[in-house]
């Protein structure tokens, strides 16, 4: 019995060691000749469709540079503490460049500074950190996207109307910015009123019951603004069930090119419009290549957005769809 346990333990240890060895292709060895570069990427949470898309795109675009090797993407699973230790691991492994999508600005600031102190170039992707000590920031402008969504609301409701707003997690910066931009834009028409807003935590299944309650409370809802597409679509399901989907407009944000995403929903007429929140993957791949080859890069790269309408949806879907390409 004891022998069996020992054997199993030894086998497990061997398997673990093998797994670790295959994961870390000794970047220090390759750094001598610099014929290949090793890049580490710390992602805040793989399980959000938007970030899954980002990962896919980053892998896709980095393949264009044969001398750049991307280590397996580290998933912080929404925990800042995990992410800090992952960034520190990459520093220990002496990667040639580091890409970080911070979970939250404050906790990641110190880790990014550590990388900076270790002379590792850092690209901050999507969300900011509270330090200047990075090589490039690439990200979308959520205030701008909120504003565009607000302008679309102005266009859809020329005679004013009642708006309900489904918010992301209240403490998330994108939530704050998407709300701010939208409110600024609709201020142009004082007859448009936000009659209710609630936190649906970015989730479709949270948005449906909230919308059901709003439909029971309010006689007249003209437009639903969801801080992301799943929440707008969750509200759409509730309105459809109540037979009110045709009299209400739905606006979302994200515009992912996946079968279950916002672009398809616009094509199907469920959403009036959505706004592509750029992943920045292509820009990140280009920037990291430039950095590694000593070329100058722009430090602040703020990306625009594209409005998805029924007219351009099919084309945009084709452009952003990466399934089958990796």
């Amino acid at each position: 019995m004891n022998k069996t346990i020992t054997t199993i333990t030894v086998a497990l240890c061997a398997a673990l060691a093998a797994a670790c060895a295959s994961k870390a292709p000794a970047p220090s060895a390759s750094s001598g000749d610099k014929s290949t570069f090793v890049v580490g990427y710390s992602q805040s949470n793989n399980a959000e469709p938007y970030r899954a898309q980002l990962n896919l795109q980053l892998q896709h675009y980095l393949k264009k540079y044969p001398d750049i090797e991307l280590l397996p993407i580290a998933d912080a699973r929404q925990s800042s503490a995990t992410q800090v230790s992952q960034v520190q691991n990459f520093i220990t492994q002496k990667v040639d460049a580091l890409i970080v999508s911070p979970t939250e600005p404050a906790p990641l600031t110190a880790a990014v500074e550590q990388a900076c102190a270790a002379k590792i170039p850092v690209i901050v992707l999507d969300r900011t950190v509270n330090t200047d000590c990075y090589t490039a920031f690439i990200g979308g402008d959520n205030v701008l996207i909120g504003k565009k969504a607000g302008e679309e609301a102005l266009r859809l409701l020329p005679d004013g109307g009642n708006v309900v707003e489904l918010r992301g997690i209240m403490s998330n910066q994108p939530q704050i910015d998407r709300d701010k931009g939208f409110r600024e834009a609709i201020a142009a028409n004082p007859t448009i009123k936000i009659i209710a807003d609630r936190e649906a935590k970015w989730l479709k299944e949270q948005a449906t019951p909230i919308m059901q309650q709003w439909l029971a409370q309010h006689e007249k809802i003209d437009l639903v603004y969801g801080h992301n597409d799943p929440m707008a679509l969750g509200a759409y399901l509730a309105a459809k069930a109540a037979g009110k989907a045709d009299s209400i407009k739905f606006i979302g944000i994200d515009g992912l090119a996946i079968p279950d995403g916002g672009i398809r929903a616009v094509q199907l007429g469920q959403l009036s419009a959505t706004f592509i929140y750029p992943t920045g993957a292509q820009e990140a791949a280009e920037t990291v290549n430039k950095i590694l080859h000593g070329q100058p890069v722009e430090k602040q790269q703020v990306l625009g957005t594209t409005q998805v309408t029924k007219d351009n949806a099919a084309e945009l879907y084709k452009q952003y769809d990466l399934s089958g390409q990796n």
């Binding site: 793989n46 399980a47 959000e48 469709p49 970030r51 899954a52 898309q53 990962n55 209240m170 209710a196 609630r198 936190e199 989730l203 479709k204 299944e205 449906t208 019951p209 909230i210 059901q212 309650q213 029971a216 409370q217 799943p230 679509l233 969750g234 399901l237 509730a238 459809k240 069930a241 109540a242 037979g243 996946i258 079968p259 279950d260 199907l268």
Partner: protein, 351 residues
């Protein structure tokens, strides 16, 4: 409490009657919370609250978690805990959506497959707790993580929609039929909302199993005193494995409901549902020490949680205060459940 209290014999008869009244009140204790919430709902919102659509919506939104709560109650009755049900619901939800999207299976084929998937992981929970003697808290916590990882792996972290259109742009017949599992606005026979029906049926079936069968008595016996149960001939190992498997199976059964409700299976679906399920069981009077609790109680606990959410939402209470109030309600409900509550209120504390 150091002084020895000798009950005055003169008062005995009066006290007896008092105790009988109080224990009758005690039996109704479980419903006090529900009655209060209904009263508040009717008083503040009247017709808006008390109509079929609103109540169906409210119960329907919680139905999948309610079904999880029934499974969790079984485990809690044996003195264990099942933290993995949220993840199991997630993977069953994903299984359902994938079976529909990839293989165009009929709904009646999807449900048993999901139940088998759930039961499989539930069985592993049971096997780990009994044969490997891992505490169920630890075993199911590990399973929560393992199954969530598998869920995310098979789905590539991307949600899978269930409203699948055929070449003609209309929903495929299978996708059309799948909607009846809970996509809002789709009812059985144009009348009955499936999630609500499924939740009620699951409660009735498991109430009968617990109260009318030998297995049910064994579940209570194992939770009450495992050693005594074993000595009196109860196969504790088999009962423990069975309750975990049933809990997993119920999570599997709830999977298609969750997928249909959002018309999409999210790789994050069911996250932290185990906490709602445990809360429903505990509010319903289940004791985490085992041996105490009923399915009827869990049913009421689930209703309390979802109707509370509904009433607060209809009254536009801010999200932050909703969290505070929901937490407080759990504490109040558990205190109300205490059998010695009225003794305690009367000042006669038992040390």
């Amino acid at each position: 409490m150091t002084a020895v209290r000798t009950p005055p014999p003169v008062k005995a008869r009066g006290e007896n009657r008092m105790r009988r009244t109080l224990s009758a009140l005690g039996a109704a204790q479980a419903y006090i919370g529900l009655v209060l919430i209904l009263a508040v709902g009717i008083a503040t919102k009247g017709e808006i609250f008390l109509n079929e659509t609103n109540l169906t919506n409210a119960v329907g939104a919680f139905a999948s978690r309610g079904i999880l709560a029934v499974g969790v109650t079984l485990v809690i009755l044996t003195g264990g805990i099942d933290l993995s049900v949220g993840s199991l619901l997630g993977i069953a939800s994903m299984t359902a959506a994938m079976m529909l999207a990839r293989f165009s299976l009929e709904p009646w084929q999807i449900v048993p497959i999901c139940m088998v998937v759930g039961a499989f992981f539930g069985f592993l929970n049971g096997a780990g707790t009994t044969w490997l003697r891992i505490q169920s808290f630890v075993m199911t916590l590990a399973m929560l993580s393992v199954v969530r990882g598998l869920d995310r792996q098979v789905s590539d972290n991307v949600s899978v929609g269930t409203q699948i259109a055929g070449p003609d742009g209309k929903l495929t017949p299978q996708a059309e039929a799948f909607q009846v599992f809970g996509t809002p606005g789709h009812n059985l026979f144009d009348r009955i909302y499936y999630p609500v029906l499924a939740f009620i049926v699951v409660c009735i079936v498991f109430h009968l199993i617990l109260t009318k069968t030998r297995f049910g008595r064994h579940v209570y016996a194992v939770g009450g005193n495992p050693t005594a149960a074993r000595l009196s001939g109860v196969n504790v190992t088999a009962v423990t494995i069975a309750v975990f498997t049933l809990s997993g199976m119920l999570a599997g059964f709830a999977g298609p409901i969750d997928a249909a409700y959002s018309a999409s299976a999210d790789p994050q679906a069911g996250q932290s549902y185990e906490l709602d399920a445990i809360a429903a069981a505990v509010i319903g009077g289940a004791s985490l020490a085992g041996g105490k609790g009923t399915i009827a109680g869990t049913f009421v606990g689930a209703l309390i949680l979802t109707l509370l959410d509904n009433v607060l939402g209809l009254n536009a209470v801010s999200d932050n205060w909703q969290l505070v109030i929901k937490g407080l309600i759990v504490v109040v409900a558990v205190v109300l459940q205490r059998p010695d509550l009225f003794t305690f209120l009367r000042g006669g504390s038992r040390s």
